[in-house]
């Protein structure tokens, strides 16, 4: 194909803009039977925490119109086991690997990044500042900030602390349940993030009307899928106008057309998430569709499209 799909997030050069979203791509190995993983623009791992996490009680998922709620609760083996057991496979794939890291405190977040940094062989970090399914900073119920991503000062503090321990590409993953996404993106930029990825799932709930109980074991969950896409596109547009660092667009991308909306709104790259569950080849189909679009529209470089919204 005669089109150039390359894009950049900070120092990290991507051969194409299609990454897989954290928590929707397992440890990548689950997909090797379905697709050629080396074609991906990059892979974002399942979020890793300091200690192993059992995850939330079931039910953990429920389907909703054009979407789903999940409350997995960051089930993961912990950073040490991740480095030992999962990382070697990621390194062999030959595409940029971005490790999603999370902590309940800034110290924990730094610990995760530092541990993976020491192990090496990866390309960047995405700080999961916005998981809706776990409680952060348990002390003092009234003053508790539900997540880093809800408060610009906390975003700045978290990103600054991590910035000191890694020179690799650093993304801050933001959450949608805020009044001003631009302010949150700016906080990440001030703190030295190479980019912001948005959007994480929306805090949401489903109720069984007969039992009058929440459907999910965790009571609330995160909403994802095509139903959130128009909101995610708007948030991408708002954030991209307010920062100079790249934005990675996420939210209900199923087809190339969906990805194009995010790119035109200002995203330098995109992540395919929930679509992977129903169609493990979704990222490849998005990628192929993007190349076809650029060709048929005679756009030589993907970057010509980024932020090209006529508004």
């Amino acid at each position: 194909m005669g089109v150039n799909l390359e894009t950049r997030i900070g120092k990290l050069k991507l051969k194409n803009p299609v990454l897989t979203a954290s928590g929707t791509f397992g440890h990548a190995k689950e997909f090797e039977k379905f697709i050629d993983l080396s074609r991906l623009g990059g892979i974002v791992t399942k979020t890793i925490t300091v200690k192993p996490r059992l995850g939330n009680p079931p039910p953990r998922i429920v389907e909703t119109p054009s979407g789903m709620l999940n409350a997995i609760g960051l089930q993961n083996p912990g950073v040490d086991k991740f480095v030992e057991e999962k990382l070697p496979y990621f390194r062999k794939i030959g595409v940029p690997v971005i490790v999603s890291a999370m902590g309940y405190t800034i110290e924990e977040l730094v610990h995760v990044v530092r541990t993976v940094e020491k192990a090496g062989g990866i390309d960047g970090f995405e700080l999961n500042l916005s998981c809706p399914n776990v409680s952060y900073g348990q002390k003092g119920k009234d003053t508790q900030v539900k997540m880093f991503a809800h408060d610009d000062a906390m975003i700045e503090a978290a990103v600054s602390a991590v910035r000191k321990v890694t020179k690799r590409t650093l993304l801050a993953k933001l959450g949608p349940d805020v009044s001003d996404i631009g302010r949150m993106a700016q906080a990440a930029e001030r703190a030295g993030a190479d980019g912001v990825s948005l959007i994480n799932t929306f805090g949401a709930m489903a109720i069984d009307v007969r039992t009058r109980r929440p459907v999910l074991g965790n009571k609330t969950g995160g909403l994802s899928g095509p139903c959130i896409r128009p909101i995610a596109v708007r948030l991408t547009w708002e954030a991209a106008r307010r920062v100079k660092i790249p934005v990675v667009g996420i939210g209900g991308i199923v087809t190339a057309n969906d990805a194009l909306e995010f790119l035109i709104a200002g995203a330098s790259a995109v992540q395919v998430g929930t679509a992977n569950f129903g169609n493990p080849a979704a990222p490849i189909e998005v990628l192929e569709g993007l190349a076809r679009f650029l060709e048929s529209e005679k756009i030589p470089r993907l970057t010509d499209l980024v932020g090209s919204l006529r508004a």
Partner: protein, 278 residues
């Protein structure tokens, strides 16, 4: 595990609210083991978004079949699919019943009790058929199938079991056929006369039935395998959504310690004693 677009050969009602679906796929038919499942996308749309998991009713030559209950939007749309149309599927997935491959059946066991309710019955047909397959060394009379339903019209797969010439035991809630009451009561009666170490129980159905079957087996000292039904998104270990509580038997774990296993990978069939029943 394959991703395929399969031709629909049959899709017709077999009981009130229940349909039998037959798809063409030689590869999937050759690889499907009893208790495994196939993820089927019920529509090419974003609503429903996720595939639905269905255990095999049968797998033979170039065709696989399923028996499903219309319970929601996905299965409603599926019930409208006509022969000649195509469906996107992924599978076979998961870990099935430990009946061995076609010809290898554990010789320790001389009798097999298969207990099912609702849409838990069809996968037991696949299992029974595999157990008594030519060359397995298992006689049909050694296979006892216990099926339960609310009333007689919902007793699924009766005809199919009769064709296999296995022993069929029936229970209905309203007494319209067989024992009036729970199927697990019939199972208990059977196990009271069976050799506990030479009998294996397989169960598939609603959780209360599985819990009761596991309880009966534990009391009688009989090994039991249960196939669980858990909400699931991907079916191949990526979403971590289909968690089920199992006992944590790792070294140094507390006696009541547990962990979450994925029903799509470690299951959907578990040893009854491994689950942390609640």
């Amino acid at each position: 595990m394959f991703r395929e677009i399969c031709r629909v050969l049959e899709n017709a009602p077999v009981a009130p609210g229940h349909y039998a679906l037959t798809l063409r796929s030689g590869r999937i038919a050759r690889n499907a083991r009893p208790g495994q499942f196939l993820q089927i996308l019920c529509a090419d749309s974003s609503d429903p978004l996720l595939p639905r998991p269905f255990s095999f009713l049968d797998a033979e030559h170039d065709r696989v079949s399923f028996l499903y209950h219309v319970v929601g939007k996905g299965t409603q749309l599926l019930s409208q699919v006509r022969p000649g149309e195509d469906l996107r599927v992924t599978g076979p997935l998961g870990h099935g019943f430990s009946c061995g491959t076609r010809r290898v059946v554990d010789r320790r066991f001389t009798s097999f009790a298969l207990v099912g309710g609702g849409v838990g019955i069809p996968p037991l047909h696949h299992l029974a058929k595999t157990l008594v397959a030519p060359g397995s060394g298992v006689r049909p009379e050694a296979v006892h199938v216990f099926v339960g339903a609310r009333e007689r019209s919902l007793l699924l797969c009766e005809k199919e079991f009769k064709r296999l010439e296995v022993k069929l035991h029936v229970a209905t809630d309203d007494g319209s056929k067989g024992h009036k009451g729970y199927v697990t009561e019939v199972l208990d009666e059977f196990l009271s006369k069976a050799h506990p170490l030479r009998t294996r129980v397989y169960a598939c159905g609603p959780t209360p039935m599985l819990r009761a079957a596991n309880g009966v087996c534990a009391r009688r000292g009989v090994e039991c395998e249960v196939s669980v039904e858990v909400p699931m998104a991907c079916g191949f270990g990526a979403c971590i959504g289909c968690a089920i509580k199992v006992k944590d038997t790792s070294a140094g774990a507390a006696p009541d310690a547990y962990r979450y296993a994925l029903a799509c990978q470690e299951g959907p069939v578990f040893k009854g004693g491994d689950l942390a029943w609640e």
